[in-house]
């Protein structure tokens, strides 16, 4: 047992080190966690063998908390309030990027379920990275920021539905189209029913959750979270979807801010382990087979996202310069892609999906922010092509 704790300690030190490196280089920590896991998986000589099941379990909890938090933060009302231009932008984004996402794995000859998961992996931007970039580059007050965050909101809504559908599909295994349709409808029905019930019970929930003690509230939340996630699993839905649903319901109660506050440290801790364990599960030797698909996907994502961001920005009346920022900021990939790839692992889909997702995310979690930072340079290069107006010289910023 002493060995196990020691191994866990070593693993956590690695995760912490990866996080420190990420903070130092100012990139998202997600690719660093994955790479750290990749480096010490059971497939490598350094291999963490004893503690792998424990870390995997903690990572599994991380996924639940991550999705719970996504549900907590998401609100349909907010999306509807976002306005017409943002909804239109979201539709433009999906109309361009989802077909592109489906096209590549189809050309590669992957089976249907793999195609659907891969499309999700490449279609969904990283909300976390986009929001952080905007803040870090001091663009919060810029006109395009509303569009960027609106697109993220739109994609969050897409994730909620897509995850439910995909998990029904993936977890039913190799079944006939009829069974798959049944499972998908079942998943959607469960979701709709649960959300409807949550809405009806809101006054009751408001009263029940009015618990003064933080400790008790936290226990109640985690009890509900694991209970519903487990229940979803036994109904052949991904447990992740169960966690998401609990988040969605609790996000509508009047206590959602307090719950958010309580859950954040757990989300941070466990989600780091989730990404680490995702890396652990990948055999580095399989990466080679995924290099070309990942690179092709990166290229398609850059082109598709930039085009759709530009179009969304321009139709909303933003300047070419601001629209360039939209197109570049949304290219970052992170948490969602990994969540979907992990779902594919749970469903026993082709292992190449995980290597593909890992490479793809590692590249775009670094490249996306780099491009976003250099958006001025990129604009200047593209300006002659599109006959955009010249930029005024940059003024000295006082900070």
């Amino acid at each position: 047992m002493a060995n196990l704790v020691l191994e866990l300690g070593l693993a956590l030190s690695l995760v912490a080190l990866a996080g420190l490196l990420a903070a130092r280089s100012r990139f998202s920590a997600v690719p660093f966690f994955i790479l750290a896991g990749l480096a010490v998986g059971p497939h490598t000589p350094l291999g963490f063998v004893e503690s792998a099941p424990v870390i995997n379990f903690l990572g599994r909890l991380g996924l639940l908390v991550l999705l719970f938090y996504l549900g907590l933060e998401f609100s349909v009302g907010r999306l509807l309030r976002a306005g017409r231009s943002i909804l239109l932008g979201g539709v433009i984004y999906m109309a361009i990027n989802l077909p592109l996402g489906l096209l590549l794995p189809w050309l590669l000859g992957w089976p249907l379920r793999e195609i659907l998961v891969a499309a999700g992996i490449t279609t969904i931007s990283s909300t976390a990275i986009a929001a952080r970039l905007v803040v870090e580059l001091k663009r919060t007050a810029n006109p395009e920021t509303e569009m960027i965050l609106g697109l993220m909101l739109f994609q969050d809504a897409f994730v909620v539905v897509y995850l439910a559908v995909i998990s029904g599909l993936v977890l039913t295994g190799n079944a006939s189209p009829g069974q798959v349709a049944k499972a998908t409808l079942g998943a959607l029905a469960f979701m709709a029913g649960f959300l409807f019930l949550g809405r009806r019970l809101k006054p009751l929930l408001d009263r029940w959750l009015d618990i003064p003690s933080d400790e008790l509230l936290l226990l109640v939340i985690f009890a509900a979270l694991t209970l519903v996630a487990g229940l979803a699993e036994s109904l052949h839905l991904a447990e992740a979807v169960g966690a998401l649903l609990v988040g969605l319901v609790l996000g509508e109660t009047e206590h959602f801010q307090r719950i958010q506050h309580l859950v954040v440290p757990f989300r941070d801790f466990f989600s780091a382990l989730f990404f680490f364990s995702f890396g652990l599960g990948i055999d580095p030797l399989t990466l080679k087979g995924a290099v070309w698909p990942a690179l092709a996907a990166v290229a398609l994502t850059l082109v598709g996202n930039f085009t759709s961001g530009l179009l969304a920005g321009r139709t909303a009346g933003l300047s070419p310069r601001a629209s360039t920022n939209v197109g570049l900021t949304i290219t970052a990939r992170g948490e969602f892609s990994i969540i979907l790839a992990n779902l594919a692992r749970a469903g026993g889909l082709l292992p190449v999906l995980q290597s593909f997702a890992a490479l793809y995310v590692v590249i775009l979690a670094v490249l996306g922010p780099l491009l976003t930072k250099e958006s001025r340079w990129i604009y200047a290069r593209l300006r002659p092509v599109f006959r955009w107006p010249a930029l005024p010289p940059r003024k000295q910023k006082i900070s």
Partner: protein, 168 residues
């Protein structure tokens, strides 16, 4: 905040809230309140925000301090002798006892401020800048002193009334 000429408030999901202000003097300011407590103030002096505009970033404590300075809590502009600060329902008000106020010379206990108005006088700043925190009932209210009154809006108004016009 109805005095500001152009005022736009936008939610920034995942970040916080953005307030766009155009001042009467024609300056454009954007204040972003981050959910993590940071505040950013952008001064927009041309069309393209990306390339211009100094930014000030304040953490929560600094922002409050600056707010206090701007709000006149630290130094009250001569033109303004009364300052109000509101947290949800609760209001703090700094207000000066005008010469000729009916309550001048009377004690807080004698006026029965709390029983009559519900508001509490939590501090008195005398004319010579001497501060009395949490004054007792026998504290005399003098002309030219500044009182810090706490209560809800109605109570504070009643208290100001009482001090200005006395018992009726």
């Amino acid at each position: 905040m109805g005095h500001l000429t152009v005022y736009r408030e936008v939610e920034l999901p995942g970040i916080g809230r953005k307030f766009q202000i155009e001042t009467r003097a024609g300056d454009r300011l954007i204040i972003v309140v981050h959910d993590d407590g940071r505040r950013e103030i952008y001064y927009v002096d041309c069309e393209n925000l990306e390339e211009c505009g100094p930014v000030v970033t304040l953490d929560d404590g600094e922002a409050r301090h600056v707010a206090a300075i701007l709000g006149g809590m630290v130094y009250t502009p001569k033109a303004l002798e009364s300052v109000e600060m509101a947290f949800d329902e609760m209001v703090f008000e700094w207000f000066k006892v005008e010469p000729g106020a009916a309550a001048a010379g009377q004690t807080i206990g004698g006026l029965r401020v709390r029983e009559k108005t519900g508001a509490t006088i939590i501090a008195v700043v005398e004319r010579d800048r001497r501060k009395i925190i949490n004054p007792g009932p026998d504290q005399v209210i003098r002309e030219g002193a500044t009182l810090v009154v706490m209560g809800d809006r109605k109570q504070v108004r009643a208290c100001k009334d009482l001090i200005l016009r006395g018992n009726r």
